[in-house]
């Protein structure tokens, strides 16, 4: 007797919040955090704001995205950050490694390092 599902399973791929953020950021090139959230969040995620903020900060630290503070017309506000992709790494979202804090690029299989960092300079000097 045969058991289990015979029909092929739907291959629809669902992805996590950070990967979704990378998808829309790559597509639109430049967005604020509110714009990203208004596009990908459903309102049911836990701490979407801080999760995405930490992810974007890490990407900014290694030079994948550029952060610019823009005025939001509010008297008491410092403005909001606009994130712009400067290094389009590819369709697969960069992964921030929780333990080491490194940014891994699954497209190239390499750790992303800021171009002007000491490590890069040492590597280029041999």
């Amino acid at each position: 007797m045969q058991q289990g599902q015979k029909a092929s399973r739907a291959k629809t791929m669902t992805i996590g919040l950070r990967a979704k953020a990378w998808w829309v950021l790559r597509k639109n090139r430049s967005m604020t955090l509110a714009e990203i959230q208004s596009t990908i969040c459903t309102g049911k995620e836990k701490s979407a704001d801080s999760n995405l903020r930490r992810y974007l900060k890490k990407l900014a630290d290694v030079g994948v995205i550029d952060v610019e503070t823009i005025d939001d017309d509010k008297l008491t506000s410092n403005g909001v950050n606009r994130y712009t992709v400067v290094k389009n790494l590819g369709p697969q979202a960069p992964v921030v490694r929780a333990k080491s804090g490194q940014v891994f690029d699954p497209n190239s299989g390499r750790i992303v390092v800021r171009e002007d960092s000491v490590i890069m300079k040492e590597a280029s000097n041999g």
Partner: protein, 243 residues
């Protein structure tokens, strides 16, 4: 203002059509045409579903060719390089593995030369039953129905028109995103001033929050905002300037 995606009637309509096409349409007919006026939420909805499904997004542009599209698909699927034949083989294999949804924005740019670009995408999607979404402005949708493009138009299984927000959409939008509670009168006023365009509704939402903060209120009624401009319709002002 809260920040998350609001599932409006347009979006729900699209999802229903998508489910129908995925479940019932034959592999060669899995094309959906999405059209609508600016501000009707097309791009936001496509971004939402695109990110959700990890779709392949292609921005149509004038002068787009099949070679360009093949290179783009190969890049997006991580199989660039090699001869044209090898590239196509790699694309087909990646499509079979992933069955990605393909979104072609500004799809009217793919209509040149008897829509060879759309035909290429259609054939690639057809092999594995992926859905191809053609997004365009309302004024361009008639071009997909031209006789010489019957090979495309006959394969479009669903047409979804993104209409301006209805009163229910407007109420849902303000209920989900506005930090201030509003009554049905305010909803009607926001709808009338924004003419159902989500971009303006978002401005109205911010105005309502600022207004409530100034007045020290947590709830606003139509009486409170009577005569207040919640959002400015720049298009209206431009049209006035023409007269």
């Amino acid at each position: 203002m809260k920040a998350h995606f609001v599932k409006t009637s347009n979006y729900n309509n699209f999802i229903t059509m998508l489910a129908g096409v995925e479940a019932q349409a034959p592999k060669e007919g899995r094309i959906i045409n999405v059209n609508g006026e600016p501000g009707s939420g097309k791009s936001r909805a496509m971004d939402h579903i695109g990110a959700e499904r990890n779709a392949i997004y292609i921005e149509g542009m004038p002068g787009m060719t099949v070679t360009y599209l093949r290179e783009l698909l190969a890049h997006e699927l991580g199989c660039s390089g090699g001869s044209m034949f090898r590239q196509q083989q790699a694309i087909n294999k990646a499509f079979a593995d992933r069955q990605p949804m393909v979104i072609l924005d500004e799809a009217q740019h793919g209509l040149n030369k008897k829509a060879e670009c759309i035909e290429f995408l259609r054939r690639t999607c057809e092999q594995v039953g992926s859905v191809l979404v053609l997004v365009c402005h309302t004024s361009e949708k008639h071009r997909f129905g031209e006789h010489k493009l019957a090979h495309i138009s006959t394969r479009i299984s669903a047409v979804v028109e993104f209409a301006p927000a209805t009163l229910e959409d407007c109420a849902l939008y303000l209920k989900e995103l506005c930090e201030v509670e509003v009554d049905s009168g305010v909803v009607a006023q926001a709808l009338q001033q924004s003419r159902g365009r989500y971009r303006l509704l978002s401005n109205a939402c911010r105005t309502l929050e600022d207004y409530a903060l100034t007045k020290g209120q947590v709830m606003l009624t139509a009486e409170d905002v009577k005569g207040v401009m919640l959002c400015e319709d720049a298009m209206k002002s431009l049209r006035k300037g023409l007269k």
